[in-house]
Symmetry: C2
Subunit: 229 residues, 2 copies
DNA sequence: GACGAATTGGACAAGAGTGTCTAAATTTGT
DNA sequence: ACAAATTTAGACACTCTTGTCCAATTCGTC
């Protein structure tokens, strides 16, 4: 029933506008209230849309929920890969560059709206939709962690780091960068820019104490420590 | 109206048995279904108790929920402090001792029933009960983290570690020990013994690469590490 | 075994939420 | 400006849940 030409992705401006408006409101409400606690009227009100329109678009509450998780997973993944592409492959100042990278990761992927919502939904409803969240696990950590590990492997190969297992190092890098934000995340809060920077700074410093090459040029004194396994 | 003597803590065996049975079932159901998704009949059935009994004991759903969070917080805290008291103040083999400590922490406080439930409830309902979970934050991380930090400070002072900020080190220690368990935790799963050991081992190794004293000359006597402060 | 307290099951009212249906109003493309 | 598609508000049936009430039963203790 399409009229031939371009209106294939965007059937109608208003229609699509409602769709995103519904998705936005629904993520918000599902996150705040949990699946069981959310109700359609709330979502409709928050989206500025009638209840019936939601049913027209998405069929029922559960389908809406699934659509939202898929959408969030996709968008978060895109953000993470975009951020990974800014990984400092040729660092000028390794510490500063890694801190900046960790901050970007946090700000753009973990603390932003999508990241916060997706995390909350996974934590809250993960057990109820095993296959849906298994999908997230494969698409999310299953693809992003190896990508980060590959960057660290390259950095190590180029002589900037001393890493045995890049996969372990990648996970630990992320864990360290977020070490100080755990409690805030637990309670669903959003750390401010300073906290993110602080945590990233402390995390990267520790990471480099563990995996950094001892200063190569100037003082060769500590190099001996590397030899004993 | 008490009958004088001992029956002050335990009014009646059956009564108290029902009480814990209700608490157990309710934690289970609240965690699995979230506050809004849980219903009293479910809890009653799982506790092997009539619905009315639950109302007799706890008044209403919300009071029951609050009682459970308080109970879990208390029990988890007790477990954490008990575990902290096993911190290796005089380590024989620093790496092995810290790994064992990290494993104990995980097994007894984070992966066990109470830890898992409390974490889930905080994540799921934290935003809805700000004052209740603020209380948790003070009683939990607010007291346990400094306690762990103090132990690390002592270890550093005794010459086993090279630590600038014990608070940061303590948080990073925990973050590293759990680095590989994050995804499992997110989805509400319980990592098995091997995964816990693996994560703790990798985490502690990295921790020691960052904060351990560089091996003194001969590795025959590690006691030598005590002298260089 | 007897007494009082606690528990039980079932009925009940009140309220809230889902999903459907309708006719009227609005928006969209042409 | 017209015709088709979409949206809207409201009513509706249905189900589920909470919290109360009560009479009958069971339990714990003496």
């Amino acid at each position: 029933m399409k009229l031939g030409v371009s209106p294939d992705i965007i059937p109608s401006r208003g229609h699509e506008a409602k769709r995103v408006s519904i998705m936005d409101a629904a993520s918000e409400v599902f996150c705040r209230e949990s699946f069981a606690g959310a109700n359609i009227d709330m979502i409709a009100a928050e989206a500025g849309v009638s209840r019936q329109t939601i049913y027209n678009h998405h069929g029922d509450k559960e389908k809406l929920f699934v659509a939202i998780v898929r959408d969030l997973t996709e968008r978060c993944n895109a953000g993470i890969f975009a951020t990974i592409s800014t990984f400092p492959d040729q660092p000028r100042d390794l510490e500063a560059d890694l801190i900046a990278f960790a901050v970007r990761m946090n700000r753009n992927c973990i603390c932003n709206r999508d990241g916060k919502f997706l995390r909350k939904l996974i934590q809250t409803e993960g057990e109820r939709y095993p296959e849906l969240f298994a999908e997230w696990r494969e698409q999310g950590p299953g693809r992003t962690w190896p990508a980060i590990a590959a960057r660290f492997a390259r950095l190590a190969h180029a002589g900037f780091l001393d890493i045995d297992d890049p996969d372990v190092a990648a996970r630990q890098f992320l864990a360290l960068a977020n070490a100080e934000l755990q409690t805030t995340f637990m309670l669903g809060g959003t750390p401010d820019e300073d906290e993110v920077l602080q945590s990233a700074t402390n995390g990267v410093r520790t990471f480099l104490r563990a995996f950094g090459k001892r200063q190569p040029a100037a003082n060769a004194s500590k190099l001996g420590a590397l030899t004993n396994a």
